[in-house]
Symmetry: C2
Subunit: 210 residues, 2 copies
């Protein structure tokens, strides 16, 4: 079997359904599709079989709810969103790595919430989020990223007081704290890889596809 760059465990959220070929190919190639509530409607119409459908299940069309009756996991906890319920289920099943798809592109408050939760999930399993534009990876310590010359890169710190440095980025960070979300945006890779240096921090790295 050809080794995939991405995990084959996928969580499909109920944001905008992927249209870019990279998230679409990840979704198609997945062997475990964990589906958040209303996203089941699209998955069903695409004839893609989820392993499980999780949420308060009030967004699924009745016919599709019937078709997926055996794999529904009802969870109406108001303190967590559906994406988090899906992560919790993955962890409960012993899943060690997962790619999140369809988590952005509709309501911006959901987009912000979903993206920021990556740093919490990273404490439980290996996780990234693939959108129609690029990849978000949460890190907490120094990490090397595979890249290409000219790749657009943005760095978001969720730990306002932690210092971040970089190597092989056009606009280098040197022991810098990022107070605002925009401060680490619009950087660019200078090589086949770049390095983000941090320690015990909560940092999100976005890499644009092309």
């Amino acid at each position: 079997m050809e080794k995939s760059e991405f995990s084959r465990n996928v969580i499909l959220c109920n944001g905008q359904f992927p249209s870019h070929h990279i998230p679409l190919s990840i979704l198609l190639a997945a062997h475990t599709r964990i589906c958040c509530d209303g996203a089941a409607n699209v998955l069903y119409k695409k004839k893609l079989q989820p392993r499980v459908v999780i949420g308060d299940l009030d967004s699924i069309e009745p016919e599709i709810k019937d078709a997926f009756a055996d794999i529904l996991v009802h969870n109406s906890d108001e303190n967590t969103n559906d994406q988090t319920k899906a992560i919790q289920w993955a962890v409960s099943q012993g899943i060690k790595d997962v790619v999140i798809l369809g988590a952005t592109g509709k309501r911006e408050d959901h987009t912000l919430g979903n993206i920021s939760l990556l740093v919490a999930y990273a404490k439980m399993l290996s996780v990234c989020m693939v959108t129609d534009y690029g990849i978000f990876t949460p890190i907490s310590s120094t990490t090397v990223f595979q890249s290409f010359v000219g790749q657009q890169v943005s760095i978001f710190s969720l730990s306002q007081n932690k210092e971040i440095s970089s190597e092989q980025l056009k606009y280098p960070l040197s022991h810098k704290t990022l107070q605002s979300w925009w401060e680490g945006t619009l950087n660019e890779s200078l090589a086949q890889s770049f390095r983000i240096v941090c320690n015990n921090a909560e940092v999100l790295v976005f890499q644009k596809f092309t």
Copy 2:
């Protein structure tokens, strides 16, 4: 003249062109349209006249660049994005209030950057961002918001150490600091208005349209 709820000074960014009737009607009713770079292409095709087109101007189609030759403002400052260049131009013209449209919906790193910059702009003029889903308003002190029962509301704090309280929200905040972006999401208005209590903070309030 009928009083508009929103400013009639509009900045159109180069994210996803609005499709919801509220941002579209704001764009149509605007008397001053400040257009960021590549967004000029769409505005031209929609036969809407901008007052000015601002940016490094490398994303405008040649024919459209010619059509708008008299109103181009070239600004290639690498330290600010086009949205900020548009705000700076507005301030330089004495404009006191502005609505930002088309700032989200494409690259998520741009979306995050653009949204977060609202708190910086709020120090210079009255500003809000209207998307296809709702309205982001930056505040720094206690503010009452017009609302309706059941309106979905999310609160994002960019000052992790500042306390926030709320009145007339379903899940009340009481002297709470919001450490993560998801913590203040998915709240709900209980009345025709709600109140966010904070002092000398940087807070973004999102109100969903319906």
